[in-house]
Symmetry: C2
Subunit: 157 residues, 2 copies
Amino acid sequence: MMNKVELSSKQRELIERLGVSHEKSGIPPAPSRILGLLMVSPELALSFDSIRETLNLSKSATSNALNMLLTMNRIEYITQPGDRKRYFKNRLVSWREEAKTAFERITQVSAILEEVLENRTKETPEFNENLREAISFMRFMNQHLPELYLEWEKSKD
Amino acid sequence: MMNKVELSSKQRELIERLGVSHEKSGIPPAPSRILGLLMVSPELALSFDSIRETLNLSKSATSNALNMLLTMNRIEYITQPGDRKRYFKNRLVSWREEAKTAFERITQVSAILEEVLENRTKETPEFNENLREAISFMRFMNQHLPELYLEWEKSKD
DNA sequence: TTTTTGGTTCTCAAAGAAAAGAACCAATAA
DNA sequence: TTATTGGTTCTTTTCTTTGAGAACCAAAAA
């Protein structure tokens, strides 16, 4: 039953740093470590048990974390004929979608701020002007980020 | 001692929505509401007690939240001659700095990912290529976001 | 039919985050 | 000198998050 993935101390360190980085963006510790492991591991597709044993997690923690990551679309799993196990992989492809989501957050915030602006007293022109400027910046970003993305696509060839 | 700020239900709603939005970016509930209040309130500079009473917070919660926001540079306070009270205001100016911080996060992440890439096995060329691409995208963004900012500045006149 | 595998779900304990309330304190006012 | 103001700090409580462990369960294997 030795399902553990063998990792160098450098690899373990990177997993932790990736973990912390994910925690910063709001993902809980266990799922964060799993994402890290699935980024660093030489083997791309890992079974429930090898994840569990490599990271010293309980079954419940592993199960919940994997399901959360599946729901978030951050990982996926593959299966093999004649093997009931699922093998989980980092869905690295999803970074484009993530970027998009991050950009959409800007839209949401600027929408709220516009509503705030509409409802503000006219007695505070300077503040309102500042607010207007922030909104304008966000709108501008939103308009031009897609173009920037296309530019990057082109720059690749 | 009626220090409460008078707010319409629309204004209260906006404060809550701004609050939730701030919570999403990692700021705790009380400070989040205070930021919302200081964004919506017709009066720009509010005293400790009017914040406390308007948001129904305890003294300790108010004190801690205000100090956290001061440390984060999200608010500032002004004083008036012959008045010991401090009047707190939203430091709306700081959105540029915040944007910069957000951009810097991209740099940090791409730095970790590069290190991961250097330490990956060569046996997984497709995965590695994807990773390389994600890194390239982040680097590109980082290079061009400052230009985009300048463009926006110009577009204002 | 019974056992094993590959998990899931439930219950509980531990730890941490938030906030309340009271005690406290320095500076000003009386 | 004493009282008040404008907070800060400490202690306690409450709520939430996280994860462990055990019970559970469906599908497949024996």
